[in-house]
Symmetry: C2
Subunit: 455 residues, 2 copies
């Protein structure tokens, strides 16, 4: 798919010309992921028209690649029996996600129309919180009894994989009560002697997750151990399902979006999907954005109140006021850089509470160096512009101090928050930049007032 | 590994007490990924001491889980023959990365010590740019001739997988010149009749990447199609290797860090690793952070120059100056929120040039609503504080205008940059917030001056 826009234009043309056979052929020749991309650029009616032209197997595949909102929208608008056929062709975890996103009545309607075994498996999945392993996993796992021989296991796998449309990652060894005992990679299975027993070739130190582990934890485990799939067990070590890397990919994307949104002071835990902030109702978007802005407002009003005490200074030398945005702006920027480096470093695991001190030291020196460079620049620029060396010196000194303090605050706050078990991403939000503003202004105004008195 | 800190303390204790056997047993009982985590918290000497206690197979595994800098550091400090043994146990792509990160002389020394076949395969990998598919892929792929029967293919796979220590993802069907013709999943292979021909069961529409495709493109393809592995081909469709999801995980993490750094005005394309900004030399860190700060400095000096023209206003009514940080701060914050939403939406593919207009409309309305709410708050607060309804009205109006304009600029700029093929993440950098500062101040000062004249 080299050029999505051209493809979309061609599809639209084919729809206008009503050349049904050609449209059908064209659509079915694409990969499902490409069709999903195309669907996202089409209008509601165009999408429905195209969907009916695609073979059912492929249509279910396309649904799988679509974002949640669109899945629900499309399934709600097509013929009910087609919709249930498509849902029954989805992998269990996807089907549960789609049904979970629908209105309760609709969920029930579809669950009743689905094949009984599938439907009861989905019902179980729907009982788990959707942000936990239980809500993410697929319950179909390739299992073999730990007592089997390799050749019998291979035969079993053949039948199981065919019946249940299973993806093959690892084979899990269980006892007759489905307790998880070991894991065998397909490579080991294929290269072992056919008469070896599964219990002899399986790995017994299994990294697993619990059904009620939260998605952030699951993503961390995946990233750390770099498996393709992780088994999910309940409290009694019964194997309940597996989480695969394509589930984790979605989690990681979501967590990154959360981290980035939080850093900009956008509230992400309103109980809905992050996507709603971008595409949901206007009131939702306003609710997500105003809380931190309000806190900034209060903080900045405090800055106004402090600054107002220096009214006499502004009357005496108005240029003092003109320099405020410069001081505040650069302090905020270097502070934001420090916060970003710390928050990201913590989220990738490079910065820990263990090595945090050395980073504070490093950032302080960096802040001091950059502060001195910029302080000198501002000194000379002001001196040259206003022909006033003392004023240049005072403003340059304020700049250097301000930038150093901002870097130190920006570095320490995320660490302190982490120590207090608060999400450090909050630090880069408006609160800390407001704090940096207030401190920066206080330092600056104290310095210039002292200058005005002494000169 | 429930508690890393406790484990580290225990390991340190075991080292002090010089109970070698116990230390050896303890270390070898951990998963390699856990040992890698522990290593990152140990001192240089402690790490070397521990490494020699770990079985060689496992030690190579631990090296694989370590960050690049640490890999090079450790291998450079241990006995040369042990180092080459460990390197020869790494997967090809990891070995090439490690050797590529060393000084040229060291690379050559090790290459000469490695087994000849391995060494020549690594030499080929080292010829590719490390940010392209060629530099990321592993050259060992499970291939079968497309003419084979399933049962012969399974036999071949058994031998190949055992000899080359291959991970099994998919089996690639090639002709005798190694042209890539199709792909067969292990599931299909195991569930097909043993007498079927590979060419009859293979999928012929193969999504692949070229050896010189850049890593961002590879990550996009992976995320879109959700495969476990992608074949890498050269210009003539010869199969050169595969890229697997654990390679992509690193790319995605790196790209996310780039996006986040760039958004905070930290320069990421200095030719080195992003990690260097956090842990490299001080001068490197300063070089990464100053460029955008300098541009901010120039922009903000322009703001000072404009503001200074309103000196008479400040002399007449100093509180006007005191309100500047409030105006600038809130404008900057809402603008940053808008930029963040747009840049992230573009990077996850939810916002495209196609649907960009509707987002501009939406953000403008959101900005206007939030602007009005905050404008009213500020009006009443100022009125109450200063007992001056007109002043309250003017400042509230400036606030509302400022926030709306900031939201619109924050939304449009990333789209315009994207249209111009410039990385939209740059927009959230200091440049746009400085532009928002300048425009906000100009609007505010014009309004208050007009108010002072009319009152």
């Amino acid at each position: 798919m080299t050029n999505l826009e051209n493809t979309i234009d061609r599809i639209k043309e084919l729809m206008c010309e009503d050349t049904e056979a050609q449209l059908r052929e064209e659509l079915n020749s694409y990969h499902s992921a490409d069709i999903a991309d195309i669907f996202q650029q089409l209008s509601h009616e165009e999408r429905l028209k195209c969907l009916t032209k695609i073979d059912e197997e492929k249509a279910a595949d396309v649904i799988e690649y679509l974002p949640p909102q669109l899945q629900v929208e499309i399934l709600g608008d097509i013929d009910e029996s087609l919709a249930s056929r498509l849902i029954s062709k989805l992998p269990h975890d996807e089907a549960a996600d789609v049904l979970g996103d629908m209105e309760d009545d609709d969920t029930e309607t579809y669950l009743e129309k689905l094949p009984e075994k599938f439907s009861s498996e989905i019902r179980e999945l729907l009982t788990y919180n959707e942000d936990t392993a239980g809500g993410i996993m697929t319950p179909l796992v390739l299992t073999v009894n730990y007592n089997l021989k390799v050749k019998d296991a291979l035969d079993m796998i053949r039948t199981q994989a065919e019946e249940d449309n299973l993806e093959l990652y690892y084979v899990y060894a269980v006892d007759k009560h489905k307790h998880l005992l070991g894991v065998v990679s397909l490579r080991t299975l294929l290269t072992s002697s056919v008469d070896a027993k599964i219990s002899d070739i399986m790995v017994k130190d299994i990294v697993n997750v619990q059904v009620d582990d939260y998605q952030g934890h699951i993503a961390d485990i995946f990233m750390k151990y770099q498996f393709n799939a992780l088994p999910v067990v309940d409290l009694y070590n019964h194997l309940k399902g597996i989480v695969t890397w394509d589930d984790v990919k979605d989690i990681v994307e979501e967590e990154t979006t959360d981290e980035i949104y939080t850093s900009s002071g956008i509230v992400t835990d309103l109980g809905d999907d992050d996507d709603d902030i971008l595409t949901g109702s206007l009131s939702h978007s306003i609710k997500a954005r105003t809380p931190w802005l309000f806190i900034t407002l209060i903080g900045e009003f405090f800055a106004v109140w402090i600054t107002n005490k220096y009214g006499a200074t502004f009357s005496a030398l108005p240029i003092i006021a003109a320099f405020m945005p410069l001081l505040v702006g650069l302090g905020g920027n270097i502070g934001t850089q420090s916060i970003t480096l710390m928050v990201r470093g913590m989220s990738t695991g490079q910065i820990t509470l263990h090595n945090g001190w050395s980073h504070i030291g490093r950032e302080t020196i960096t802040g001091l160096c950059i502060g001195l460079i910029f302080g000198l620049c501002v000194s000379f620029a002001t001196w040259g512009w206003q022909c006033n060396a003392e004023l240049g010196f005072v403003i340059g000194l304020a700049m250097a101090l301000n930038m150093t303090i901002a870097a130190v605050i920006g570095t320490c706050t995320p660490l302190v928050l982490k120590k207090l078990n608060i999400d450090p991403a909050v630090a880069s939000g408006p609160v800390i930049t407001t704090a940096i503003d207030i401190i920066g202004l206080a330092v600056y105004l104290t310095l210039v007032t002292w200058y005005l008195i002494t000169v």
